[in-house]
Symmetry: C2
Subunit: 154 residues, 2 copies
Amino acid sequence: MTSTSSHAAIGIGELASRTHCKPETVRYYEKIGLLPAALRNEGNQRRYSEATVQRLMFIRHARDFGFSVDAVRELLDMADHPTQPCQQVDSLARRHLAEVESRIQRLTVLRDELQRTVAQCDGGSVEQCRIIEVLSDHRLCSHNTAHGGAEALR
Amino acid sequence: MTSTSSHAAIGIGELASRTHCKPETVRYYEKIGLLPAALRNEGNQRRYSEATVQRLMFIRHARDFGFSVDAVRELLDMADHPTQPCQQVDSLARRHLAEVESRIQRLTVLRDELQRTVAQCDGGSVEQCRIIEVLSDHRLCSHNTAHGGAEALR
DNA sequence: CTAATACCTGTAGTCACTAGAGGTTCAAGC
DNA sequence: GCTTGAACCTCTAGTGACTACAGGTATTAG
């Protein structure tokens, strides 16, 4: 048996594989306080309960939604206080949604500018390349504002 | 006069302000080799020509388009060889465009899921909050694949 | 001449992990 | 009991593209 039975303590490897992350990530989350310090067995290895599996699933799912680690910290805190009103949760999620929408907006403008520029390249020499020309002179862009690609990507 | 005359050597502060970045960024670009080592005056301070202003404008504009520093390095290299065919430029720009489009795609899927989730919250207690519930259980999501928000944002 | 400003170098911090070195513990087979 | 290999441990450094200091020097305006 590979110890997948329901209420036995599990090791970091199984915890990681059941939550689609790596042992390094689990140790990292413990270090930054997203997960509490794990119980250890006699040989100093971490042992986890089902409750930790659930907590880590929550964390991974929230991260997968694009919430920052700090936001996840707040969400966990709220989830730990179930009788409180969920206004803060709602507000956090709406702010996140607004950020995603803004990101889409900026990337769409950038995409249009890139498409226009790329479409104008006729495949000659670099000397007459429209892409290089546009990069050399912002006045050739359709907007005179920044594209914001450096922030909207990466 | 604040030394804005056309062909005099300028300092790092003026170079920075004319290219919408900071002196630290200029020094950083020099360090990583995007800009050549600057000439110095008697007091060891960097002095720049108009050519450097142009080069840095190109760099900033390309970064603003979202090209990575490595991509900018390649673009600069190509721009420095004007008689070569611009096929590589074109290919680099098209790959970048594809990346931007993919990013928009992923963020759009994420936005839809977030919108759906946020819309279901009725403002009660955390206990019955749909947002917390969805984060706790991926099966409540409309797709059973990852949302990829952690990679698509950030 | 003085004071404010701009500049210099070098280091560390950001974010959310990931990768590696160098050592220890565990589980299975013989 | 012994061996072997996988899994685990801690600690450090690296990623991208800057940004922010600290502690010192140069320039410039008045």
